[in-house]
């Protein structure tokens, strides 16, 4: 039963990962490693690695080549004047990097991106876990509730953002509703509050993802464990804290990782909610990179920005992957 559940949930995880190209790279490791346990008698030497060639070739074309091109571009003075013959655009070394760090809102954007992602994550985690636990035991209409829970996750970002923009516009539904109870919040889509608007909408859109993974973790708790803890007389909190939560650690660690990357890479939500140029309080990384590239035509500079942010994200990601051992086949960390 537990295997069944994990099989059903994994495609969802993978499709979520597939939305952000870089995320897919990170997440793609875990299923491969899980598929090759030693008990099948294959030594590491005899693994049929050649079977990875088609996938590997695609990865090179889709990820490695553009990445290298991007890095090369970041060393070029590439703008609308040189775009046409971009290969021969003037080579300016690290000038773009210097400009990105010293004379652009890049660091501010990194700070905004990371803090907004973390905030959204911190709120969605308990929400998702609570929802998963609430729908753990069978009751009438559970299937419906579970489907309803998934709606925010299934809706395309564009739709989510468009609907929320309509709700939050000045004098819109939200303002009217709050006004009836005497609350006047002010502008949602402009000014300092935009940051919180972004966090709010992101929470609404992404908690079902946590819920999904928490559910997968709960499904892997064997019946015997429930019975044993009941026999030992554990009450609900103790049971949750010491019996169930340890099972959730792996899936939730994965959810945290994918969720963070997804939030940091989320372009559609802020773009559709706030438009371009974005208010300074929501000029997150993807928006900044987009504006620099496609509005100001500074392709070299924006490539440098993208590269810096990639490195900035990769460092904690690497440390984190090491810490939770998602990349280790021997430790059943991701499983439990």
């Amino acid at each position: 039963m537990s295997t069944d559940a994990s099989h059903e949930v994994r495609p969802a995880v993978d499709s979520a990962a597939g939305r952000a190209a870089r995320t897919a790279d990170a997440a793609g490791h875990s299923p491969e490693h899980h598929g090759g346990p030693r008990r099948k008698g294959l030594s590491e030497r005899n693994r049929p690695l050649w079977m990875l060639i088609p996938g590997g070739a695609l990865m090179i074309i889709i990820i490695v080549v553009p990445l290298l091109l991007g890095i090369y571009m970041s060393a070029l003075n590439l703008d609308q004047y040189t775009l046409r013959k971009w290969i021969s655009a003037p080579f300016i070394g690290v000038e773009n990097f210097v400009e990105a760090v010293t004379n652009s809102p890049l660091l501010h954007a990194v700070w905004l991106s990371v803090s907004y992602s973390l905030l959204a994550m911190v709120v969605t985690l308990p929400l998702g876990i609570a929802a998963a636990i609430a729908t753990q035991n069978a009751f009438k209409g559970r299937a419906v509730i579970r489907s309803v829970f998934l709606i925010p996750y299934v809706l395309p970002s564009f739709v989510v953002a468009t609907v929320w923009r309509t709700i939050l516009q000045p004098g819109g539904i939200m303002d009217e509703a709050l006004a009836t109870v005497g609350i006047h919040v002010g502008l949602w889509l402009n000014g300092p509050q935009t940051f919180w608007t972004l966090v709010l909408v992101q929470i609404w859109a992404s908690w079902p993802f946590i819920y999904l993974l928490a559910l997968s973790g709960l499904q892997s708790v064997d019946h015997e464990v429930h019975e044993a803890s009941a026999l030992d007389g554990a009450l609900w909190w103790n049971k949750l804290r010491y019996v169930v939560f340890p099972y959730l650690k792996g899936p939730l660690a994965l959810a945290f990782l994918i969720g963070m990357l997804h939030h940091i890479n989320n372009f559609t939500l802020p773009y559709v909610l706030f438009g371009v140029p974005a208010p300074a309080d929501v000029e997150v990384l993807p928006i900044l990179t987009y504006v620099t590239s496609f509005q100001s035509f500074r392709f070299g500079l924006s490539a440098a920005m993208a590269f810096i942010s990639l490195v900035l994200i990769a460092i904690p990601l690497f440390v984190y992957l090491r810490a939770v051992k998602l990349d280790d086949a021997e430790t059943p960390g991701a499983k439990k």
Binding site: E8, L150, P170, V276, A278, P279, S296, F297
Partner: protein, 453 residues
């Protein structure tokens, strides 16, 4: 215990698939080169690719027009025309960038006038020679004012004018009359004074949208130019000039000091302003074009409104200091031919067809845009179009530099970042100055690159 979310999963997969197909819109490739036979272009068996913007107000008519013109073109040259459309300015930019880099894509592009300098800077479009001009029917056939933003100077023109869409303001005759105003304002000061008279009981003097993606910079540009500051002077950006600050103060002041604009306008785009005006709640509708005619004619104020030139005398002045009145930015659509196109003659033949007098008049009838063809423009007799035609003649081009996109973005950004202050009812002078200064710095850097590029 089974997790029944197959429908959910299916939906996810479908959504992902949709997203993927959305990304990979195919681009057709045209045939080979075209040949000249006795002055006529023979394009038998060839396909000309044309990229134009979607006219979201007239989707059916646009399709009809496209198939009609394709049939005519086929009869004339034997070649097919395949139309591709872009939905937004961003979409347009992306398409152009892709084509510029890859050296393939549409043969003919329809571009907004303010984007023409940026497109010209990429050098990916044909700068027309005298011979090329002959192929599109001669330079003389066009309204000469419309050529103002086709290239950096008279001898280097890449944009072929297709339609003019000058900006004017509309006014509600009843509201003006009720306030005892016999003639619309010609200076910005007068406009504010008149608007104050009209503002009462839920009616506002002016309808405008502060969250529009284009309008704000057009106001600032117009007021600055009319005060004698064309913003770009050679390689110098003059956004830190007092005239610019004065322009912002006037524009924001309608809401904060004069209180002649609905406070909700901080969240409005142009279409919200049109709607407010159409409901009879505003005396003036600023920064509008002939494209508002269909909406207004179907509204409660049908027959009660008229167009007129926007004020041409800068705030605090008594006469225009600009050479020419700068009643509007030079606005409309230009056509450009891709440099990589292997069937340029066919492209020119197509442009010749759609800029001919008859076709231009036909286009005006269907879509409302003014002809760029001089003869067609002169033959318009509709009284409602008179102020529009006048605005077209008194339009002034925005500076022709590849940096204009950045400058425009900077001007707009000042408004975007000021909106919270606007909503609070007061835009702090020093904060405004700081925002203008930031825009000046960025815009100047962009100009510096342009002069090197």
């Amino acid at each position: 215990m089974r997790f029944k979310s197959t429908t959910g999963l299916a939906a996810i997969v479908t959504a992902a698939a949709l997203a993927l197909t959305g990304c990979g819109s195919g681009s057709g490739t045209g045939g080979g080169g075209s040949t000249n036979a006795d002055g006529k272009v023979d394009g038998t068996g060839k396909t000309l690719n044309v990229l134009v913007g979607v006219l979201s107000q007239y989707p059916e008519q646009q399709k009809q027009w496209q198939s009609d013109i394709a049939a005519k073109f086929k009869a004339e040259t034997g070649a097919d025309v395949k139309f591709e459309t872009f939905a937004s300015a961003n979409d347009e930019l992306t398409r152009i960038q892709t084509s510029v880099v890859s050296g393939q894509g549409p043969d003919v592009y329809g571009l907004g006038t303010t984007f023409t300098p940026t497109a010209y800077a990429t050098k990916a479009f044909v700068t027309l020679s005298d011979d090329d001009w002959k192929k599109v029917g001669g330079k003389d056939r066009f309204n000469q004012a419309a050529l103002g933003i086709s290239g950096p100077d008279k001898d280097h023109l890449a944009g072929i004018p297709f339609v003019s869409r000058p900006f004017v303001m509309a006014y509600n005759k009843d509201i003006l009359a009720a306030a005892g105003i016999d003639k619309p304002a010609t200076s910005w000061d007068e406009l504010a004074a008149q608007a104050k008279k009209m503002t009462k009981d839920g009616t506002y003097g002016i309808a405008t949208g502060y969250k529009d993606n284009f309008d704000p910079w057009k106001f600032i540009w117009a007021m600055s130019v009319q005060a004698g500051n064309p913003l770009v002077d050679g390689n110098k950006l003059k956004m830190d000039d007092p005239t610019v600050k004065k322009a912002y103060e006037t524009y924001f002041g309608w809401l904060t000091n004069d209180k002649v604009v609905d406070p909700a306008a901080v969240g409005w785009s142009n279409s919200n302003a049109v709607a407010a005006f159409a409901s009879g709640k505003a005396g003036y509708l600023m920064m509008t074009t002939s494209s508002s005619i269909p909406t207004l004619d179907k509204s409660a104020i049908a027959g009660k409104y008229e167009y007129t030139l926007m004020p041409t005398i800068a705030p605090g002045e008594t006469q225009s200091k600009s050479d020419g009145d700068a009643a509007s930015i030079l606005s409309g659509d230009n056509l450009v031919v891709a440099d990589y196109s292997k069937q340029k003659d066919l492209a020119f033949a197509y442009i010749k067809l759609i800029t001919s007098k008859d076709e231009q008049l036909n286009y005006q009838k269907i879509f409302g845009d003014l002809p760029a063809n001089a003869e067609a423009l002169a033959s318009l007799t509709d009284a409602k179009l008179k102020p529009l035609a006048e605005a077209a003649a008194k339009s002034k081009a925005t500076p022709f530099t590849g940096a204009w996109g950045d400058i425009q973005l900077g001007l707009l950004n000042v408004t975007v970042q000021s909106v919270p202050d606007l909503a609070a009812g007061k835009v702090d002078g020093s904060a405004l100055e700081q925002r203008i200064k930031d825009a000046q710095t960025k815009g100047q850097a962009s100009l510096d690159r342009a002069s090197k590029g």
